[in-house]
């Protein structure tokens, strides 16, 4: 891949530079500004959701109820899940898409800049609504992020309606973001950039965007049915009126399972960008990576009921969903093998992005292993709704989605702000996080296998040791991410960080590295030619 950049002269700075002050951010239609807004919003939500997690871990430090009442504990587990999924991981990925996709495909900006502005500014409103429920009579939603009926319908607190409208807004925002990605990728690629030449980050995001468009309306449908059950006399989820509470779970997980891939596919793209750079060797099996991502996305629509093996499904249903779920291991395995093969015979160095990417591959794979185990229905009867499940999805989400995002931030930050972060501090951040993340989540495998159910504020004394370790790890993990903020602050605003070159990384390839660092306000005003 090569590109021709036309340096443009500065005759009309007023037009090309950002506006000044607060209105710059409120009215901005620039993909980089919006990308930054998304990323900082996600980081703020990550800290808030982390705070909720620490309330949970503090209460679980030793047996007995010491700090919070059970009903508040349930509000914390619910908000922790909702804030992390919809407030931290998804906006972080949308932020990365905004920053990177135009630069990677040789476009000046996203295709639909005004919609881009809207899709971001809806989010603070949505989360304002959701978090304000903490201060309402009856407290915040307390039925878990999966909000199963009838706990969330007949038995939900009054604030459930705020939750419903919050989810509607988040869904609208995600759908608009996804439309923008699809339109941009389909229409604004530089001449010569065929689909099979697109960087994998663009590919994984394109597929993610299709998943979003297909499943966010399903989630909107689920919460709308909740709303009418609560207030307009319908009985979608109430057997007394001819409905079925288990149907809620089918609808929810038809959204929910693709959703978990929405939260991991962009990380696959990030690892596929970083590992070749630091191995100084092209990505192994580009085409199979694309096909594997597409098959994972396709399979994600026919496995949803593996979350529901204990609901009393017929045997035929259990068999179908068990086998389909096991199949997902095949394309996922291909991806892992490809990453290892990319490293094989390379010439590797281990800067922070590479360390986080390698940790991503290893720990995500561990989460994948427990995923295969959970797919086995007879064993799932024992794992289901225990801490084993909590361990599983935190292994794919924290080292998966979050480490992927952190790797991306270290990797592209010099391109974004024109300055190099401190490699020494970033390495401390890495080693601190890797120890803390395992200390937090690995013992949960054991407590789950030994029989500790999830979403409880107190537990039998046999689980005390595991819980204490998890709590210590969780506080360490939280402190580590404040340190991450310090590193970012020092790099971006500290003024002393060294200037980055355009190339930044010796082995980096792709259009974004042909732009100067920091990248100009409008990425490619003239399309580069990709050969």
């Amino acid at each position: 891949m090569s590109a021709v950049i036309h340096e443009h002269d500065h005759h009309h700075d007023d037009h090309h530079g950002p506006a000044k002050g607060l209105t710059r951010w409120l009215y901005t239609t620039n993909h980089k500004d919006i990308g930054s807004l998304y990323l900082w919003f996600a980081f703020t939500m990550f800290l808030i959701g982390g705070l909720f997690a620490l309330v949970i871990r503090a209460e679980l430090f030793i047996p007995g109820l010491q700090l919070v009442k059970p009903e508040f504990f349930n509000q914390m587990t619910t908000l922790h899940g909702l804030v992390m999924v919809f407030g931290a991981v998804m906006p972080a990925f949308t932020g990365l898409a905004n920053w990177l996709i135009p630069m990677m495909i040789g476009a000046p900006d996203m295709a639909l800049p005004r919609m881009n502005n809207w899709s971001f500014w809806i989010l603070p409103v949505a989360f304002g609504m959701l978090l304000s429920s903490l201060f309402m009579d009856g407290g915040a939603p307390n039925f878990g992020w999966t909000f199963y009926a009838p706990l969330s319908t007949k038995f939900g607190p009054p604030s459930t309606d705020y939750f419903i409208f919050g989810v509607h807004l988040m869904g609208i925002s995600s759908i608009m973001g996804a439309i923008n990605v699809i339109v941009t990728v389909m229409n604004m690629r530089a001449p010569g950039m065929t689909y099979m030449k697109m960087p994998l980050f663009v590919w994984t995001w394109l597929i993610t965007a299709f998943l979003l468009i297909m499943v966010m309306p399903v989630l909107a449908g689920a919460v709308t049915m909740m709303l009418t059950d609560r207030h307009f006399g319908t009985s979608f989820f109430d057997a007394a009126g001819g409905g079925d509470p288990v149907m809620f779970q089918h609808v929810f997980w038809f959204f929910g399972h693709p959703e978990v891939y929405i939260m991991i596919l962009p990380s696959f793209g990030i690892a596929s960008a970083i590992i070749p750079t630091f191995a100084r060797k092209p990505l192994f099996g580009y085409a199979s990576m694309v096909y594997a991502t597409a098959s994972i996305a396709g399979l994600s629509f026919i496995v949803w009921a593996h979350h529901m093996f204990t609901t009393g499904m017929p045997l035929a249903g259990e068999l179908f969903f068990m086998i389909c779920t096991m199949l997902i291991a095949v394309p996922t395995g291909v991806k892992v093998f490809n990453w290892v093969a990319t490293m094989w015979q390379g010439s590797m160095t281990f800067e922070a992005p590479m360390l986080f990417a390698i940790a991503f591959v290893i720990l995500f794979t561990i989460g994948g292993f427990s995923g295969i185990m959970l797919a086995l229905a007879p064993a799932d009867f024992q794992y289901h709704d225990t801490y084993f499940v909590v361990a599983h999805f935190h292994y794919v989400l924290f080292p998966g989605a979050i480490f992927g995002t952190i790797a991306a931030v270290y990797y592209w930050l010099p391109k974004w702000c024109g300055r190099m972060y401190s490699e020494k501090l970033a390495k401390i951040h890495f080693w601190w996080s890797i120890i803390a993340v395992n200390l937090t989540f690995f013992p949960m495998h054991f407590s789950g296998l030994a029989g500790m159910q999830r979403r409880v504020p107190d537990y039998a004394i046999q689980f005390a040791d595991f819980n204490m370790l998890s709590s210590i790890g969780a506080f360490g993990l939280g402190i580590g991410q404040l340190f991450f903020f310090y590193i970012l602050w020092k790099t971006i605003w500290g003024g002393k960080a060294p200037k980055a070159t355009a190339q930044v990384w010796e082995g980096a390839e792709g259009l974004e590295w042909t732009l100067p660092s920091p990248a100009p306000y409008h990425s490619f005003t003239e399309p580069p030619v990709v050969k």
Partner: protein
């Protein structure tokens, strides 16, 4: 607290420096006491080993590469980026491994879902936050006169450790109930699982039985216990505030002992019924009603309405100063509410005797600063049923 810290540190050290785990701490799934539980355990262990071996190979190759193919050791990278044969091989091998796991999984699943030819049937009903067991039949004999609620027996005082309080917690802390479910060993027991309010999930790890209790639907599952013993489980599905406080305890006894238990239970029930009738015929003094009422209140009502009667509005209304508990004209409503329930308030008519309901209503009308002086008698409750 410091003892816990010390223990935890010692435990961590033990985990890091010796492969052998402590005998006390359970790390793994229980192999259980039923054939199905053994099968679930075997499948779990097979998956652990397979994943462990794949992990060792993949991560081994990765770490080898990290050591041998670093820039300082291996400055000239290779440039290969595809190999069709290798890619086919590492697609086919996982398919074969998965097939090897799927076959025993399918067989086990088919066996576990076969609820036919049961020797006896028990109806399990979850409600916030207790279980109810009703025997249906055993070996063709009707047992439907036997049914009871099973509630957590760990006192709230033991787990409510707010404000720096510490309490002694036993081995069965949060895993003990007032009346366990009793079933015979060696018999195929079918469970019909349902719920009165939200979704619960009835789980006994030693049986590998976990079935959701869905309001309005009845799910089937079964077990056949090989060894007598007391087996402890929990409600696995989030069911509200006290989800963590509704354990499951099953006592498996020999078929002979089970017969004795049935006879004893029937005798006890008959005596209790006689006593309850005698209670209704008697007029109770205020202090008797208050004493009994407090006991009933703390066991059944305080989880929601709180020991202070302050409740947790708006979900759980306050009783202190409330109209229904202080207005004389509303005594019939008060009795009706406890007997029949309303919205999130469960019906206690089937669970408590006339005397217990009279006592708790009297207590509610004269505690928490409600100074009505009203004494409700068991016969008033009986008349309202």
């Amino acid at each position: 607290m410091s003892k816990q810290w010390y223990k935890s540190g010692a435990w961590l050290a033990a985990m890091l420096f010796s492969a052998g785990a402590g005998a006390e701490t359970q790390f793994n799934m229980t192999p259980g006491v039923t054939d199905n539980a053994h099968r679930a355990y075997d499948l779990h262990m097979a998956a652990v080993w397979i994943c462990g071996i794949i992990g060792a190979v993949v991560f081994g190759a990765m770490f080898y590469s990290i050591v041998k193919h670093r820039k300082s050791v291996h400055p000239k990278p290779a440039h290969f980026h595809e190999n069709t044969l290798v890619e086919i091989v590492w697609t086919v091998i996982p398919v074969l491994i998965l097939l090897g796991l799927a076959i025993p999984a399918v067989k086990t699943l088919v066996a576990m879902e076969d609820t036919r030819d049961a020797d006896m049937t028990v109806m399990v009903t979850g409600s916030q936050w207790k279980w109810h067991y009703k025997y249906v039949d055993a070996d063709g004999k009707d047992l439907s006169d036997i049914g009871f609620y099973s509630l957590l027996s760990t006192p709230r005082d033991t787990f409510e450790n707010y404000g720096g309080k510490t309490t002694e917690k036993s081995e069965t802390y949060l895993k003990e109930v007032d009346k366990p479910l009793v079933i015979p060993t060696g018999k195929k027991v079918r469970f019909l699982v349902t719920s009165e309010d939200v979704i619960h999930s009835w789980w006994v790890p030693a049986f590998a039985v976990k079935k959701d209790a869905v309001p309005g639907f009845i799910n089937e599952t079964w077990t056949k216990v090989n060894e007598a013993g007391v087996y402890r489980g929990v409600c696995a599905e989030l069911c509200g505030k006290d989800h963590g406080f509704m354990p499951v305890v099953v006592k498996a006894v020999s078929p002979e002992e089970f017969q004795t238990w049935v006879a004893d239970t029937r005798t006890a029930m008959a005596e209790a019924k006689k006593a309850a009738e005698a209670d209704v015929d008697r007029v109770w003094a205020m202090d008797e009603l208050m004493k009994k009422g407090e006991e009933v209140y703390l066991k059944n009502c305080s989880a929601c309405h709180q020991a202070t009667g302050a409740g947790m509005p708006p979900t759980f209304p306050a009783l202190a100063g409330s109209k229904i508990a202080t207005d004389k004209a509303q005594i019939p409503d008060h009795i009706g509410r406890v007997l029949k329930g309303k919205g999130a308030m469960p019906a206690f008519g089937a669970m408590l005797s006339d005397m217990e309901i009279a006592a708790v209503i009297t207590y509610e009308r004269n505690a928490f600063g409600n100074k009505t002086g009203d004494a409700v008698q068991p016969k008033d409750v009986k008349a309202a049923r």
